[in-house]
């Protein structure tokens, strides 16, 4: 096993990876940009190495600086987390050439499966079901129009180099195609430096279900059940669960075996995720593969009882898989909420700033993966994911009950977060029934049905009383404590003069 690992990331995922390292007795090296000196991952690590200014391109995306930090610190391997360079074959290749182990799949598998069009080609060639569309980039509009007509509207235009909802356009009818084509290309060029787009059939209210796979360098490859990721806001996952309410044992086995076949044809090793769409007839189609650890990996960990990050480290160190397919058993249900620094009352605007108070939920069935702490200022330069709340229950009903309880306990003050939004989602009948699809959240938001319930008059009374108590202090509103003179003395003097109903 490695003695020292550098984590080329920040935030909750860097801390999560370091926790796995610490449990395996591996020393950890954090890297940090100038604005991240006090970030939790820097505090948590055994060693810390500055790698440049705030903009990612000069720090977390700078391959030379990361490799330099690894060499200086003597790290034998690099864990990329997710995002940043996690799916960048040039980085994986540079690691290999420097003699540092990249904790992820072989470069070739990453290259093949990282390309949306190449992976579609490979999967189609293997005779496996793929969401209908093209498996190559389309350059001329005429070709786009022809293909769209062939597969039938509605269609989705997608950036070939894409991800995160950028360069994505839904087209309902031929009239909208040309302008969507132009804006998607422009957006893709802006976001990824590559205007290529391809086209896919848009499935009506599809479910987004993905299979976690895990393979070693000895050729063993297993699947670890599925994750339901249909709860998305603007094509970005916000809440995930395992198992999927839609998937039964038979469908799970078929999807799992398909995912393993896809992994095998790519020569895949380490942890990866095969994403599928499932249509109304419960037919599933390959969508794309993520050649890294996912944000939502904890829900799988909770139901299968396997620590995916530790397995990644073991696999990268050359150890064979410790689990055979028949050893993998799912128990209970797990749900994750992504706690973002965004204001749900204000169209999910990002909300960096000082976390003045932070109380994460506790007790049975709660897992809290966090990259922040009370008193820390969330910088505005990076992704707004603060923490992940993950719950486990013996079935979906218990998991939801626990999630409600946990969301009620969760206190973050100083900045706005998506916690209030999740409190509404977990009350929604369609969510409770498991009838979720990728358009559910956007529809519910548009219809205003996630806007929250009314406070009671008793709660309003308490709000007024608390304000008065707070106003009795000689200090700025809502500020941290400073030495104060007692306003109570003045209030006491007042009391002597005022008539007040006597207590009976």
């Amino acid at each position: 096993m490695f003695r020292k690992v550098l984590v080329a990331n920040r935030g909750e995922i860097a801390v999560r990876v370091m926790r796995a390292c610490r449990e395996l007795g591996i020393a950890t090296v954090a890297v940090y940009s100038d604005v991240d000196r006090t970030s939790l991952h820097v505090r948590y690590a055994d060693e810390a190495c500055p790698i440049g200014p705030a903009p990612s391109i000069e720090s977390y995306l700078n391959i030379d600086r990361l490799l330099g930090a690894a060499k200086r610190s003597g790290a034998e391997a690099i864990h990329p987390g997710y995002g940043f360079l996690a799916e960048n074959p040039a980085f994986a290749r540079a690691c290999r050439e420097t003699g540092i182990v990249f904790i992820g799949p072989p470069v070739e598998a990453m290259e093949l499966m990282g390309s949306k069009t190449a992976s579609r080609q490979a999967v189609t060639a293997a005779g496996l079901p793929v969401v209908p569309g093209t498996d190559r980039n389309l350059e001329a509009f005429e070709e786009v129009a022809r293909v769209a007509k062939e597969i039938g509207y509605p269609v989705m235009l997608k950036a070939s180099a894409g991800g995160g909802g950028k360069g994505l356009r839904l087209v309902q009818a031929p009239e909208g195609l040309e302008s969507a084509y132009r804006t998607a290309r422009a957006e893709a060029q802006n976001a990824f430096g590559d205007p290529s787009v391809y086209i896919e059939k848009y499935l009506e209210r599809p479910r987004h279900v993905e299979i976690q796979i895990l393979g070693d360098h000895q050729g063993n490859l297993i699947y670890l059940g599925e994750r339901e990721c249909s709860l998305q806001r603007r094509h970005q996952k916000v809440m995930e669960e395992s198992p999927s309410p839609l998937v039964d044992d038979a469908l799970r086995r078929r999807m799992g075996e398909t995912a393993v076949r896809i992994g095998k044809l790519a020569g895949y090793a380490n942890a990866g995720t095969v994403e599928f769409l499932i249509d109304r007839k419960r037919d599933f189609y390959f969508l794309e593969m993520n050649t890294r650890l996912q944000v939502e990996h904890p829900v799988t960990e909770l139901v299968v009882g396997i620590d995916l990050v530790k397995e990644q480290l073991r696999i990268a160190a050359g150890e064979p898989l410790r689990w055979r397919q028949e050893d993998v058993e799912m128990r209970g249900a797990a749900i994750e909420c992504r706690i973002y620094a965004e204001d749900p009352a204000n169209d999910f605007f990002p909300c960096p700033g000082l976390i003045r108070r932070l109380q994460a939920p506790r007790g049975p069935g709660i897992r809290s993966d966090s990259g922040v702490y009370e008193g820390w200022t969330v910088p505005l330069e990076y992704d707004p994911l603060l923490a992940k709340l993950v719950v486990w229950g013996s079935d979906r009903t218990e998991a939801i009950a626990r999630l409600r309880r946990a969301l009620a306990e969760y206190e973050v003050f100083g900045i706005q977060t998506t916690i209030p939004f999740f409190r509404r989602v977990v009350e929604h009948p369609e969510f409770l029934a498991g009838e979720i699809d990728t358009s559910f959240i956007d529809r519910a938001l548009a219809e205003g049905i996630l806007c929250g319930d009314k406070a009671s008059p008793e709660e309003e009374r308490v709000a007024l009383l608390a304000t008065a108590l707070d106003a009795a202090r000689d200090r700025p509103a809502g500020s941290f404590p400073v030495p104060r003179e007692s306003m109570w003395k003045a209030a006491g003097r007042d009391a002597l003069l005022n008539r007040w109903p006597r207590r009976t």
Partner: protein, 181 residues
């Protein structure tokens, strides 16, 4: 202590009169207090369990209220607070009768409106110019933070009276960006 308080929930403003009287010998961290809220009287058992966090027992029910300034950078004399009780937020403004200068009236006024930055960030694009007439919902400018671009919209029709920022400049949360007449 007598206060006039305005509570806002959504677009609704309600004014309340509150008198709070701790018994002699009450401490600064908690104790009993009698209150009269508008026409109703009662007693609370309160304790400040963390800075700005109040545990309040009233009529046998246990509540917790968290009080924070309504803006991360409150202007001097801004007595507005966001109070969270359970899972509900209330915006409450305090009007100390001794200092009162028609404070309540201001809340309802329909004069010029300042569009402020909802977060710290960078101004990516200004979509309007001074004197321009805009409709409700029109895009005003684009601000970037945390790797996302966000468009600010007019909540009502109006005329752009001033643009306070330039493209490319950084702004703090609460900074004035545009004035709509």
């Amino acid at each position: 202590m007598r206060l006039t308080l305005t509570v806002r929930r959504g677009s609704e403003n309600r004014e309340h009169h509150l008198e709070l009287r701790p018994p002699r010998g009450a401490t600064e961290k908690g104790g009993l207090a009698r209150y009269t809220l508008d026409s109703e009287s009662g007693e609370i058992d309160w304790a400040e369990v963390a800075p700005g966090v109040y545990s309040i027992i009233v009529e046998g029910r246990s509540y917790e209220a968290q009080v924070v300034a309504s803006s991360p950078t409150p202007a001097p004399g801004d007595a507005s607070r966001v109070v969270t009780v359970g899972t509900h937020d209330f915006q409450v403004t305090v009007h100390d009768p001794r200092r009162r200068r028609g404070g309540v009236r201001a809340a309802g006024v329909d004069g010029p409106q300042d569009i402020v930055a909802p977060m710290p960030g960078k101004i990516v694009k200004v979509l309007v110019s001074p004197h321009q007439q805009v409709a409700a919902g029109a895009g005003l400018l684009v601000i970037e933070a945390m790797k996302m671009q966000n468009e600010l919209h007019a909540t009502r029709p109006g005329r752009v009276e001033a643009v306070y920022v330039e493209e490319g400049s950084g702004v703090e949360a609460g900074a004035r960006l545009i004035r709509l007449g």
